[in-house]
Symmetry: C2
Subunit: 333 residues, 2 copies
């Protein structure tokens, strides 16, 4: 096994977020499930955009946010995802490269437009996402470069990739290459309703060892095991995957591996402005710590710190230097 050339390589839907503040009445009136992610078609995307308030456009995508966070912490990071050669596609490509991430997936010359996620942010900071996948659903196994994957210490995959069928194939191809090269494969469950759509498949990935390191929040974990009992779900989780990291919003986070359990509190935040990207950035901190050989407690702390930065402003890409923030908090990244 050669020394890795990348710390973390992420695969995900390449999405530009359009964020707008909203009152909860708007969610009700438009039949949206607060806090969730719903896939929408182009017509619905246009109707929601026309109805929503003034927006802020920021590159997004769950795994892409995570990877940008890893790069912001000083990690060597790469991303694989599909955009179209259009206005939002240029924005996505510019932003991820400008974040210091290697991004070489060719843009689609035709077909559907670059994916966008219309995000309604409630007064309490909770975000409700409406995703038009567009070009992102055409990510395919041909976009998986074997050398790049084999050279990454961790290949990080988002559960949302299970929605577009070709992307699922790309996911499995990447996982196979990573394991053949002796690397770590990590998965985030993405969303409780995503788990609901693919529960059996996700459990199979975990139980068969396709996934070594799992990320889930409390809602996703309960959805995975179809229980309201967190402790019961956690006990099951320990059986099913080598290592898992579970985030619990203001209750903090924990990691489990066999009989080991490590917990950290949430990092205090003055005012929660927008929770978009909280889980993504938690994963960034943890993955970066893990890749640097941190103890689980320190990786969790770094995750909590990155999540706290992200929820204190609009958008899921950091506004402060995550590296400085880590150092101010005694973590040498």
């Amino acid at each position: 096994m050669t020394a890795p050339r990348l710390d973390v390589l992420g695969f995900g839907n390449a999405i530009v977020d359009v964020l707008a503040r909203t009152e909860d009445d708007f969610l009700l009136a438009h039949d949206m499930r607060k806090g969730g992610m719903t896939l929408i078609d182009e017509a619905r995307a246009e109707a929601v955009y026309a109805a929503m308030g003034p927006g802020v456009e920021v590159s997004g995508g769950s795994a892409a946010n995570t990877i940008a966070g890893v790069a912001a912490l000083g990690g060597r990071a790469g991303f694989v995802g599909k955009v179209k050669d259009d206005g939002l596609g240029s924005i996505f490509g510019h932003d991820i490269r400008a974040a210091g991430v290697a991004f070489a997936t060719p843009s689609a010359a035709d077909g559907p437009a670059t994916a966008r996620c219309l995000i309604l942010v409630s007064p309490d900071g909770e975000r409700t996402m409406n995703t038009y996948l567009g070009a992102a659903q055409n990510l395919s196994p041909a976009d998986v470069d074997a050398d790049t994957v084999a050279g990454a210490a961790i290949t990080y995959l988002e559960g949302y990739l299970w929605d577009p069928p070709a992307a699922k194939e790309a996911f499995l191809k990447a996982a196979g290459i990573a394991h053949a090269a002796g690397r770590t494969v990590s998965l985030t469950l993405s969303d409780a309703f995503c788990v609901d759509r693919y529960r059996a498949e996700f459990l199979k990935l975990m139980r068969e060892g396709t996934v070594d390191l799992l990320f889930a929040n409390e809602g996703e974990l309960k959805s995975l095991y179809e229980t309201a009992d967190f402790d019961a779900a956690l006990a099951q989780l320990r059986q099913d995957v080598r290592r898992a990291v579970v985030t619990r919003s203001e209750k903090g986070a924990l990691s489990v591996s066999g009989s080991d359990l490590v917990e950290v509190p949430a990092h205090p935040v003055e005012r929660v402005v927008d929770t978009t990207g909280a889980g993504d950035l938690f994963a960034a901190g943890y993955l970066h710590g893990h890749a640097q050989g941190f103890a689980p407690a320190d990786s969790l702390k770094l995750g909590a710190l990155c999540a706290a930065e992200i929820i204190s402003h609009m958008g899921a890409r950091s506004e402060r230097s995550l590296k400085d923030l880590a150092q101010e908090n005694g973590l040498r990244v």
Copy 2:
């Protein structure tokens, strides 16, 4: 004179801002004047964009920011400015309408792309702007609807409109219609270097009474009278225009009219994140107060409050409800 149908109608360059954090070294390396606004061509716009960090896209434009602020305070607001029928043009049109502003200027079907302003935000919150005017420079007298202008209590014009020649004609046409209908004409000097380009013309507008209400910051005022002596500049200003509002960053703001002078302190801000739009939103608060018949001191206070909200986050459109903020601070808007 009939009752106005709009409180404030703004004319300005219709621009989408692309904001990115930067270190001051970047400004030096790219020969940028910190804190200023520089007009750039398309080639330079592409080169700067390629070199700058990950961006946040938010609708901008000085007068457009002001008008969006007036609407956010509950004022009846309209905007006139030119975009192209492209991706950024759709974003601009969506955002200003979603802010509650009447916006009916037809988009250009061909010609240069929608204007963008590449804004580099320094660690101290100061912003350095690089503006590619594109479609905005094709705003022309044909875009000035006489009924709309005659129905607005205040017509608000940005000094930046003096850069594109057709827009300057549109500006003068609007001012003429407004005065013929017995309305108020207001101008912001926009930028010290803009003043430097058009000093004689701006002074003529003031001295001939084309402008009734002037907005300037300290740097613009000193540039106008080519002096480093603030008090001397202020004494001249009192001679030259019916009423003027001068903002002085952390030193507060004042308004003068003949021998009257009213001063207010700056509204305290916990952390200055990005000063983009500070002057624009100050003008929004003042104009809205003025249109509601507030005493000058209260209009200034409202201006200071709106400016404080804007500089506490990235971007020049409000993230909090300005109406709520005003009410929390004892101003009934």
